[in-house]
């Protein structure tokens, strides 16, 4: 089939910085000489709702939405959202997830409980699973807010894009004064 297109899904909670991460990814793919399309929903979802961004790259990309069940890589910023999105992945797909738990409203209210052992459940379904403690590594890199960059580094290792493209993408998308710290955070993720 014409599957020379790589499908990446970024999922998490509104306000987590998913848009910026998907922008850096897209930029790196363009710099790598690929056609790129991405899609996500702004609006209501920014008020703490679930957010999903789709990024696709390859020789020629048509749909900006990843066809259901054809995701190659699931890049999760939060555990429940990662688990919720597993059906979007193809069989044997890759999961890279941030070890973070953000309780949704019904859990905050004590009406439902946050599902237990998501790590084990994800691993059982998708053995190619990397759990990253983004917060901890980002703190080591100098700023807890660079957690996304650590994750991005971990994802980058699974993509066939030269390192220099990642660097250029970061240079373009990250404010100058935070650049060095972000590059360091990216390395940490890439070296995992």
């Amino acid at each position: 089939m014409s599957n020379s297109v790589t499908n990446i899904l970024l999922v998490g909670v509104g306000g987590q910085g998913i848009l910026l991460a998907s922008e850096i990814l897209s930029e790196a793919f363009m710099l790598g000489g690929f056609d790129v399309k991405k899609s996500e929903i702004h609006g209501m979802s920014q008020r703490g709702g679930s957010v999903a961004s789709h990024v696709r790259y390859g020789k020629e990309v048509f749909s900006p939405i990843v066809p259901e069940g054809e995701g190659d890589i699931l890049f999760g910023f939060e555990m429940l959202e990662t688990y919720r999105s597993l059906p979007l992945l193809k069989k044997g797909g890759t999961v890279v997830a941030n070890d973070l738990r953000i309780p949704p409203p019904s859990v905050l209210l004590g009406q439902e409980t946050y599902p237990e052992d998501l790590t084990g459940k994800i691993e059982a379904l998708f053995p190619d699973f990397t759990l990253v403690d983004g917060q901890k590594l980002a703190t080591e890199a100098g700023n807890i807010r660079a957690a996304n960059t650590v994750l991005l580094g971990a994802v980058s290792k699974r993509l066939d894009i030269p390192e220099v493209c990642w660097r250029q993408a970061l240079e373009k998308m990250v404010p100058k004064k935070a650049l060095e710290m972000n590059i360091q955070a990216f390395r940490m993720g890439r070296d995992l």
């Binding site: 790129v36 702004h42 949704p104 019904s106 004590g110």
Partner: protein
């Protein structure tokens, strides 16, 4: 030069390249970022209008003056702007005029999923529909040329996936040599008295015939012949799904969806064995093709509700038993059904911690008010545990709905009716409704939730915020004086973080058998401008005092989490100090003094 742009960024770029002089609009997802991006092109006079009708008329004025004008709005905004649109279709333009209508199939952030293509046909104006960001830019430019060439306003339809999708765009230099705007008198063309309008209407009909003929050979409507078995007519975002799912199908890709180039359609239909139309929402193309006597399949298999996706399109074709055109067959050994996971706690959107709307809805719930709602972040007052909204139709409707409902209710129920409306929505169309309420003396209560910003769509300024789109200071509308000026005698301002005061004032005004307005005075926590929102000290729960009564959970603040009891102990509430904005509302609900500042 190449850049990755969203559809909205590309439309803004297209406006710049087309030499646009004036840009106006009203925020609305997914259209909002067009004007916000036009800001970077300093030569364009870009501004927010209080509503879409006004934006449209500002653009029409600029066009009459000879400058190119772009006006942006979401699909439902076109309802508000429809009045000038329909008659502008008759007068035609001075400088080129383009109206961007951004649809929201699937209602990601809208109250309905109306299909704007119907407006183009209804108002008899051409409509272009781009399929990616490159086309967003190119078609915007082209739309201005068509507008001037055919003396017509042109609509460009986007949708959420186009506006908020990103793809690679090749940039061009702006056009040069456009005529300088100046006054040209032409009253018989621009004054639509019946006598003049009767002259214009036949010209409009002629124009549409000419445009259809033009479209038949224009490069934006293109035929891609592949397999002759299946032919698909499609446009916009759907084109991408067709190429993805039916890679070998022949395609007639329409860049202009109104008027349809029926000769081209007929020609294409002859070259393929079976003809389909793949379009989101209404059978807009399909019905016209069928009416032209051409056999076609469309909504029999393609869903009419919601957006299309590659998966939904593939399903539609395979369920109908259609094979060929490269439709992927289920792979060997891959017959297993898609992965199913158990039902999980949902994650609906919620008001932010410290949102000034929260305490008001809590109080409305406590007072068992019947709340006619409106559109904005505060529509989330519908959600549990606040559960304090009973109606919501369209912008501005809260006040007039309240005014109408009290006319049929028995005396004892009239006082329960409270209309709730945001500052931006009040100035959009709520002010007309308030005038009606004052004029006709409807005994309902109105709460204007003045958070100093248009929050829902991402913090846009409005006439009451004191700033313009260009971030220049403006004279803010004085809401208290405005309400008084339309004839409301009882106007009170309250601090929504003070629950006792809010409750007292609400009860007072609800019991008053006259129209009255309450205005809240706390800004949105997302306002970044200095000196507007100031974060309070974070609160915390004193574990020893917390009785586990859950009173503080009743406001549904994302910063407060219930911690279930470990074996043999009682559960308790806990405040996340990173999320808490220190609004103090939860502290006022705690009867055990367990919530305090600092720590």
């Amino acid at each position: 030069m190449k850049e990755i742009l969203s559809g909205n960024e590309a439309i803004a770029r297209g406006a710049y390249e087309a030499g646009v002089k004036v840009a106006s609009g009203y925020p609305g997802t997914p259209s909002t970022e067009i004007l916000e991006n036009i800001l970077q092109y300093k030569k364009i006079d870009a501004s927010w209008a209080p509503n879409e009708k006004v934006a449209m008329e500002v653009g029409i004025g600029a066009s009459f003056g000879g400058g190119r004008a772009i006006v942006t709005m979401k699909h439902v905004g076109v309802n508000v702007a429809a009045d000038p649109l329909f008659t502008f279709s008759y007068t035609g333009v001075g400088g080129g005029f383009v109206l961007i209508a951004a649809d929201d199939p699937e209602m990601h952030s809208s109250q309905n999923e109306q299909d704007s293509r119907n407006y183009a046909r209804f108002a008899k104006v051409p409509m272009l529909e781009p399929a990616d960001s490159q086309e967003c830019k190119d078609f915007t430019r082209l739309a201005f040329e068509l507008s001037e060439q055919f003396d017509t306003p042109v609509m460009l339809r986007s949708c959420t996936r186009i506006s908020h999708g990103k793809s690679i765009v090749e940039l061009n230099e702006p056009v040069s040599g456009l005529p300088e705007p100046r006054l040209v008198k032409n009253p018989s063309k621009l004054v639509m008295l019946p006598g003049n309008a009767r002259v214009r209407h036949p010209l409009v009909e002629e124009r549409m015939v000419k445009l259809a003929a033009f479209g038949a050979s224009a490069p934006f409507n293109s035929v891609e012949m592949r397999d002759g078995e299946i032919g698909v007519i499609t446009a916009g975002i759907s084109y991408n799904y067709v190429r993805e799912v039916l890679p070998n199908a022949s395609v007639l890709k329409l860049g202009m969806v109104n008027p349809l180039p029926m000769e081209l359609v007929r020609d294409f239909a002859r070259k393929v064995n079976k003809l389909y139309v793949v379009e989101e929402l209404d059978p807009f193309i399909e019905e016209q093709v069928r009416a032209a006597g051409i056999a076609v399949t469309g909504k029999e298999i393609i869903p009419i509700c919601g957006e299309l996706t590659p998966g939904r399109l593939r399903n539609a074709f395979t369920t109908a038993g259609i094979v060929g055109a490269g439709l992927p067959r289920p792979e060997q050994g891959d017959e297993t059904s898609p992965l199913q996971i158990e039902k999980l706690p949902g994650r609906p959107p919620n008001m932010c911690p410290g949102c000034p709307h929260r305490g008001v809805f809590y109080t409305l719930n406590q007072l068992k008010a019947y709340v006619t709602g409106d559109i904005g972040c505060y529509t989330l007052g519908f959600m549990p545990p606040l559960n304090a909204m009973d109606t919501c139709i369209c912008m501005g409707a809260s006040i007039s709905n309240a005014s109408g409902i009290v006319r049929v209710l028995p005396e004892d129920e009239k006082k329960k009716v409270v209309a709730v409306i945001g500052d931006s929505t009040f100035l959009h169309t709520g002010i007309n409704s308030l005038m009606e309420m004052a004029y006709n003396g409807s005994p309902a209560t109105v709460i204007i939730l003045d958070n100093r910003i248009t929050a829902m769509t991402g913090r846009q300024d409005n006439p009451a915020s004191g700033w313009t789109l260009r971030d220049e200071p403006a004279v803010p509308v004085d809401l208290v004086q405005l309400c008084r000026a339309v004839g409301i005698r009882h106007v009170q301002v309250v601090d929504p973080f003070d629950l006792d005061e809010t409750r007292k004032v609400l009860m007072e005004e609800m019991n008053r058998p006259e129209p009255s307005v309450i205005i809240t005075n706390r800004p949105c926590v997302l306002v970044k401008r200095e000196g507007v929102f100031e974060k309070g000290l974070a609160l915390s729960v004193d574990e020893d005092h917390c009785s586990g009564c859950k009173a503080c959970l009743r406001i549904g603040c994302p910063a407060i989490e219930w911690q279930p009891a470990p074996e043999g102990k009682k559960g308790k509430a806990c405040i996340d100090p990173l999320l808490c904005n220190g609004c103090d509302v939860c502290r006022q609900l705690c009867k055990f003094d367990a919530i305090g500042r600092g720590k």
